[in-house]
C-alpha cells in the first residue's frame, strides 16, 4: 500500500446554519483546499460523507453536486453513507484511492444539515440506523440505547453521574477554546448536578442520562485533502501521515451482544489501526472520541486501549484526559460540545487531530503532539472506524 498524507483540513462552524447543505460542504472544502495550497495540482477524486440528506434535505448524489459546486470536473466522485461513522468511512475510501495508486489527491468532505427538521423528526431520522424489527419498531432511539448502556455500564464499573458530568464539564470547557464549536458555554458541577436547580437545568433525557450528557443536534461540514507521497513531497507545511485505519462491526441489535458493555467493534477497530500503524495506545498524544453521550467517552477510552476496562472514569477523575493531562481527550470539545452533524463528525474529528499535529490548534493546542487517535462510532457501536495519524518530521 502506498502512504497517504493529509495536506489540508478545514471546517465550518458547527451549530445551526442558514447555508444550504451543499454550500456548507463547499465552504468546508474550500477551506481545506486553501489549507493544502495545492497550486496547479488537480483533485482526482471527491468523497462526500453524509447520513440523512436524502431524507432530511431531499438531496442525493452529493459527490457529484460538490464536484459541480467547486468546478472540480472531471474528478471522480461518490457519497458514502455509514450512519454516524459516515465521515471516517468516507475518509477510509479516500485513503484507499490513494493507497491503491488510483488517485494522487482526494477531497473528503463530511456534511450534515439536520436542524432543518424539528427535534422529534431529527431523533427519528437518526434512530433509523437501529435494527428495524428488533429495535426501531419498539420506539428505540439513540438516547434510549445510550441510557440503557449507561445504566448497565455504571452498575458494573461503579461509574457515577458525577463522572458523566465531569466529561461534560471538560468538553464544554475545551469547546470554549474552539471557535468552530457549536456550544460555547461552560457548565459547572453545581449547575448540572449537585444544586437543587440542577433538576431543572439538566433534566433527564433517557435515565440515567440527562440533557448535558447528550450532544446537541448540529449542522456543519468538515473537509480533508488527502495526497500521495509524491504530492506531499511537493507541498510545504508539516506532514501528517495516515498511519493506520481499522474498521470493525458488531451485531446490529445491541441486545444480541454477549456483553453489551463490551464495545467490541471499538476494541477490534482500534487494534487493527494500531497494528497497521505499528503503534500502541501508549504512543498516542491526543485523542478524539465519539462522545455523542458522555458515557461513550469513558467506555471508548477503555475499549480503545487507553485505560484498563472499568478504569476510564478513574483516569477522568485524576484529570488525565483534561487538556493539560497525560492523554487529552476531545480537545475540540468532542461531539458533546463541538457538536454532532452526523455525517460530518468523523471528518471533523480528524480535522481537529490534523490541526493538533500541525501545531495549529491555538488555545487548545496539546503540546508536542506527534501521534493522534480518533474513534468514529457508527450505529450504536455496530460499525466503528478507528484512525491513527502521525506527524512526520
Amino acid at each position: 500500500m502506498k502512504p497517504v498524507y493529509i495536506a489540508g483540513a478545514g471546517m465550518t462552524k458547527f451549530g445551526r446554519a442558514e447555508w444550504s447543505l451543499i454550500r456548507l460542504a463547499s465552504e468546508a472544502s474550500r477551506s481545506a483546499l486553501h489549507h493544502a495550497d495545492l497550486g496547479e495540482i488537480p483533485v482526482d477524486g471527491v468523497v462526500v460523507a453524509n447520513m440523512g440528506a436524502a431524507r432530511v434535505n431531499k438531496q442525493t448524489a452529493l459527490g457529484s453536486a460538490l464536484v459541480d459546486q467547486l468546478a472540480l470536473y472531471p474528478a471522480m466522485a461518490e457519497a458514502v453513507e455509514n450512519g454516524p461513522a459516515s465521515g471516517a468511512s468516507a475518509f477510509k475510501v479516500g485513503c484507499q484511492a490513494i493507497a491503491s495508486g488510483m488517485a494522487d489527491v482526494v477531497l473528503v468532505t463530511g456534511v450534515e444539515r439536520m436542524r432543518t427538521v424539528n427535534g422529534l423528526e431529527g431523533t427519528d431520522f437518526v434512530a433509523s440506523l437501529s435494527h428495524p424489527e428488533a429495535e426501531y419498531i419498539y420506539g428505540v432511539t439513540l438516547p434510549s440505547l445510550a441510557g440503557m448502556f449507561a445504566r448497565l455500564f455504571m452498575d458494573r464499573f461503579g461509574v457515577e453521574r458525577k463522572h458523566l458530568a465531569m466529561v461534560a464539564i471538560k468538553n464544554h470547557e475545551n469547546a470554549t477554546k474552539n471557535p468552530y464549536a457549536h456550544i460555547q458555554q461552560t457548565v459547572t458541577m453545581e449547575g448540572i448536578l449537585t444544586l437543587p436547580e440542577a433538576a431543572v437545568n439538566n433534566p433527564p433525557i433517557a435515565a440515567p442520562l440527562h440533557m448535558f450528557d447528550c450532544c446537541p443536534v448540529s449542522d456543519g461540514a468538515a473537509s480533508l485533502v488527502l495526497v500521495s507521497e509524491d504530492v506531499a513531497a511537493k507541498l510545504g507545511g508539516p506532514k501528517v501521515r495516515v498511519a493506520g485505519i481499522g474498521q470493525a462491526t458488531d451485531t446490529h441489535a445491541v441486545h444480541e451482544r454477549e456483553d453489551p458493555t463490551d464495545l467490541k467493534a471499538v476494541r477490534i477497530a482500534s487494534e487493527k489501526a494500531f497494528g497497521m500503524a505499528g503503534a500502541t495506545p501508549s504512543d498516542v498524544d491526543v485523542v478524539e472520541l465519539h462522545d455523542a453521550f458522555t458515557i461513550l467517552e469513558i467506555a471508548e477510552s477503555e475499549a480503545a486501549g487507553f485505560f484498563p476496562r472499568g478504569e476510564g472514569h478513574l483516569a477522568l477523575e485524576r484529570g488525565e484526559t483534561a487538556l493539560d493531562g497525560k492523554l487529552p481527550i476531545n480537545p475540540s470539545g468532542g461531539l458533546k460540545a463541538k457538536g454532532h452533524p452526523v455525517g460530518a463528525t468523523g471528518v471533523a474529528q480528524l480535522v481537529e487531530l490534523v490541526w493538533q499535529l500541525r501545531g495549529e490548534a491555538d488555545e487548545r493546542q496539546v503540546q508536542n503532539a506527534k501521534t493522534a487517535y480518533a474513534c468514529n462510532f457508527g450505529g450504536f457501536g455496530n460499525n466503528v472506524v478507528a484512525t491513527v495519524l502521525r506527524r512526520e518530521g
Binding site: 471546517m11 453545581e190 448535558f212
Partner: protein
C-alpha cells in the same frame, strides 16, 4: 400616583389588588446566578429596547413573540391592559429573559409570553416556571390559560408539565384554542420544574436593581444564532 383626568381614568381598566412577586435567585447550569424579579412600569422602556431588534428575527417565532410582547408591555406601561405583571431574569444585572401575563379574575390567570435572550441555559424554562409560581402560589389562582407560539414553547409547556386541553376557550393570543395548567398539575410538576431560593442576598438584589441590556448585536446573535456557517 399623579392625578389623572376623568377621561383617562375611564380608559384604564379597573385594577385588582395583585401581590408583589418576591425575588428569587436561581443558579444556572453555567454556575451563574440569575435573579428573577418583578419589573416596574417605569422600567418597561428598557425591556422594549431589548425586544425591538427581535421584531425581525423569524427564527423560533421571535418576531411574533417579540411584536406581541412589545404591544403587551406598552399596554402595561400605559395602563391599557387589565392586571398585567412582568418578571425578568437578570444575570449580573444583564437581561437574560422576561415573562408576562395577567389575571383574568381571582381564579384564572392568562399567560402571555416568555422571551429568552440568553439561550441554552433553560432560562425560559425557569422564567415560565416563575410565572406559574406567581399565578398559583402568590396570587392563589386555580388555573392558568396558556398557548404556545413556537414548537419550543409547546415542548416546554404542553409536554413537560403536562398541560390539559381547554380548547373551548379562545386564548387572548390570537384566539388560539387554549391549554390550561390547573393548580394540582402545577404542584405535581413543581419538584421537576420550579426552582430558586429566597431570600435573595442584598448583594445580588443590588446587582439586579438596574436592568442592563446586552448590546443589540449580542441580543440578535444570541437569539438568532449563526446566520451562516463560518469557515
Amino acid at each position: 400616583m399623579a392625578k389623572i383626568s376623568e377621561l383617562e381614568a375611564s380608559l384604564r381598566p379597573p385594577a385588582m389588588d395583585m401581590p408583589p412577586y418576591p425575588p428569587k435567585v436561581i443558579t444556572l447550569a453555567s454556575g451563574e446566578k440569575m435573579v428573577v424579579r418583578q419589573v416596574e412600569r417605569e422600567e418597561i422602556p428598557t425591556l422594549l429596547e431589548a425586544i425591538y431588534p427581535l421584531l425581525w428575527v423569524e427564527r423560533d417565532f421571535y418576531d411574533i413573540v417579540g411584536a406581541r410582547l412589545f404591544g403587551e408591555l406598552l399596554a402595561y406601561k400605559r395602563y391599557r391592559v387589565k392586571d398585567e405583571y412582568v418578571l425578568a431574569g437578570l444575570i449580573d444585572g444583564v437581561l437574560a429573559g422576561m415573562v408576562n401575563g395577567r389575571l383574568v379574575d381571582e381564579k384564572t390567570g392568562m399567560s402571555y409570553h416568555t422571551l429568552t435572550i440568553r439561550r441554552g441555559l433553560r432560562v425560559g424554562s425557569h422564567l415560565f416556571a416563575a410565572k406559574m409560581e406567581y399565578h398559583i402560589e402568590h396570587c392563589g389562582q386555580e388555573e392558568v390559560l396558556i398557548v404556545a407560539e413556537s414548537p419550543i414553547g409547546f415542548r416546554r409547556w404542553m409536554i413537560e408539565y403536562p398541560l390539559e386541553k381547554r380548547f373551548e376557550v379562545q386564548h387572548e393570543l390570537g384566539g388560539v384554542p387554549s391549554w390550561v395548567l390547573p393548580k394540582e398539575t402545577y404542584y405535581n410538576a413543581k419538584p421537576r420544574l420550579v426552582s430558586g431560593t429566597r431570600p435573595v442576598s442584598e448583594e445580588l438584589l443590588k446587582s439586579a436593581e438596574t436592568i442592563v441590556l446586552p448590546g443589540e448585536e449580542t441580543v440578535v446573535r444570541q437569539v438568532a444564532g449563526e446566520k451562516e456557517g463560518e469557515t
